[in-house]
Symmetry: C2
Amino acid sequence: MPKYQNLDRCKAYFELLNLPKLEISHALAENGPDRLKRYEIPLGAGLTYNYAAKAVGDSVLAKLEELAAEQELIPKYQALLNGEIMNTGENRMVLHQLARGRLGNDVRSEGRSLSEFYQKQNERVSHFAHAVQSREILGSTGKAFDTVVQIGIGGSDLGPRALYLALENYVRAGGNSPKMKAEFISNVDPDDAAAVMNRVDPETTLFVLVSKSGTTQETLTNEEFVVKKLASGPRALPAPRKHMVAVTSETSPLANSDAYLDAFFIDDYIGGRYSATSPVGGVVLSLCFGSPVFEAVLAGAHEADRAALEPAPSANAAMLDALIGLYERNVLKLPATAVLPYSQALSRFPAHLQQLDMESNGKTVNRDGGPVAYETGPLVFGEPGTNGQHSFYQLLHQGTDIVPLQFVGFRESQLHDDIEFQGSTGQQKLNANLAAQIVAFACGKEDQNPNKCFAGGRPSSLIYGDRLTPQALGALLAHFENKVMFQGFLWNLNSFDQEGVQLGKVLTKQVLGGEMPEHLRAFAELLGAAPENT
Amino acid sequence: MPKYQNLDRCKAYFELLNLPKLEISHALAENGPDRLKRYEIPLGAGLTYNYAAKAVGDSVLAKLEELAAEQELIPKYQALLNGEIMNTGENRMVLHQLARGRLGNDVRSEGRSLSEFYQKQNERVSHFAHAVQSREILGSTGKAFDTVVQIGIGGSDLGPRALYLALENYVRAGGNSPKMKAEFISNVDPDDAAAVMNRVDPETTLFVLVSKSGTTQETLTNEEFVVKKLASGPRALPAPRKHMVAVTSETSPLANSDAYLDAFFIDDYIGGRYSATSPVGGVVLSLCFGSPVFEAVLAGAHEADRAALEPAPSANAAMLDALIGLYERNVLKLPATAVLPYSQALSRFPAHLQQLDMESNGKTVNRDGGPVAYETGPLVFGEPGTNGQHSFYQLLHQGTDIVPLQFVGFRESQLHDDIEFQGSTGQQKLNANLAAQIVAFACGKEDQNPNKCFAGGRPSSLIYGDRLTPQALGALLAHFENKVMFQGFLWNLNSFDQEGVQLGKVLTKQVLGGEMPEHLRAFAELLGAAPENT
């Protein structure tokens, strides 16, 4: 069994603190092309992680490798794959990688192979999607379904939504159409559900209700909202829940209701923010794009999961990304990181990564409940480029703080529908901007006018590939999941629970129940949320 | 003329550093309801800024008031309103407030009253919108326009888009429909324009091309993309630009082209990120929702602009918000701030504020080109609640860093379409969550299990009102603009230029022109953006 210890028990960590810092601009100016070639790693599905513009040289990299060995990153990943209890706080295994393919032991629970269980659920999703698409399953008034509405929040929303948006254009390439279109309801704000319900035709809409516990307040409220809408008015549906499938755990209140059209199962070993490659994402993606597309996402993710088993950080993109992130956070003391995809299809991918990273590693106790005396997970935010260039990049270039960056780019567009204008295509302009930004951030520029000076020294990495295909998307997703996992191992955290969300739930109940401390009541009254205000 | 000096020339600043820090949980527990009543300020259009859960007490507030006096915040704001050159780097006045109503002198340029100029443009927008809505102006094949596509990036996209999304539901209340629907094209990624063009019917679509300079690479590329689409295929339009209006400056290449259906003008005194209340936002909002809705946004903004003239910070929400933000940034040393609207309608408002704040105050030189030796603008990010609770709030509650928060909430939903479920409405649940979060962040919770401990001490403010109306939205927008302006005065910055975006443009041109340094070429080649890769 690997040894779990805090980061500040590692010799390499203290040695890292004292190594000389690298000036990126010098490193790039001296031997840029060579550095670019040496400093990159394939991460799966044709994607490559390039870290030539990160503030690391061979001495820091060697020390990071020692740190990886001291914290036994690969043995811990293997332990996870083999079904050891990695979610210590909740006493659970962590098996989202298994949902896309097996890399360890045949993990079993209550006599059942979980690999087979996950596979079976995926098959059931595939059959269901096919039955809907072939009009074997119809709406309750006999019409074919053409719209999916996913009702879920957090991991049941952000990941699936990011993947949906990432592939919507892809499936249109060559003049094709998606099989169905999707909408999402997440917020308990009634305007969210109302807006979506105003846009869809109930007779041809299938709802996917996603809640692992079956008790999520927002999701149950939105279910009720939807059911009331479907059951009312001149075109009321006779059995609204027959337009609804549940994605939930087998023990949840939603699991065994005959009211729903069908139900697909996940279990406690796949956390919400890691569930996009389970039926949580699989149902909506398979319905809209066909199950082969979802299977390609899984295949790409599996490839990246396998690539993350490479022992040497110099050959393991997820591990090195994690190590460099730790170096930036704990040695360079930079508190945030921006994810900047140069691909409009990835418009909501940063919001997903924000949850993935901040909910996993935004912790102050270690996996055994002990204190940590160093910085853990950074702030994560981002928007697609080139849009961000015309927005917050000003601060990234010339602000008083340095923010490490993670760029993502593709050589080709998804639709291959482009024009040449002023001597270049849109895709070339997009990528010329991306290359230019990497160099501008790293190298800066001197100028006699101080307002036009750029200090440079802003580190960035680049994940790139030919095209944002379903495989590439799956690999990209899994890369970041595995990066976050390795960082959790480095910081000795449990990256798989989220106790920080509990207190708000308790206090919300107090407000709605009418029994609360005076200062909470005062805030609730400002907002008309205390029961007296009903 | 007010005196411009760096923050670290102010006596009050150094005194602030040495004042005892307030424990929010104690302050709220001791006299919460009283503190809530005392610590709030109307900000215009029925909105209130409450700072009871911020880490400030009367002694810090008194010192912040001294700082406001030392930095002459009100005289500087008045100087701005009166047309002094506040955008020092570009030698320009700063007049976005004038676009919504006059509060200072009759500012003139080249013999012309700019108040009258802005008003005249607004009237032209209103007439145009009415002519389109009344079918006096039709598409080139004789059909009525039902869709608006805004083509713009940065300030020509984020603000207008945020406002559009914020009001789309509002105008549907009572079963009404928007007059037209809007789509947005911003990214130079060809997939962005292609996706939108796949969704709209060219014959009934009006394009709004927004670029102040008329030279924005992304926007011109997207114009070309759209024009080619409109001019091709079996349903090619005879004169595609007759489906297009320009919003630009009078001196731009777009201004005097007869090719466009019409053109509306802005000038150099309204910066991109401050232009949502000019025709940049006005055309799309007036077309979709009617000009009275846009005028109500302007009226609300004007009200907030007027409220920001109050001399005492305790009566001036924008100024106090700025001062407390400075206290958090420079005294408490907190590098980021999150904007968390409990309103799905404000889903893209944080992205707009991110530009507004980070592009305005992410600077390291002062307004005169001298250095600053203190932190300036923070990182700004955010997503709507309750969604964020299920995502990144984990880190906000239990991460190793403290992130100050700005909540926004409304007593009523926009659509008034809500259900009671388990004893409360959706809106009550939404606001119960909001109240609960404020208290959870401020007060925390002790627990024997360290993993379930919440340290508390996380400061937040709350802007609240009855309902997100156009007036309230305008006031909210202007509040943040004025907050950012006051912070710029405090830090002695020019908040109205953006030199940090220039270097990337220069290097992009090098890539596309084929002449570039070796290391830039190496990155461009990875991405297929160097001309050899064509």
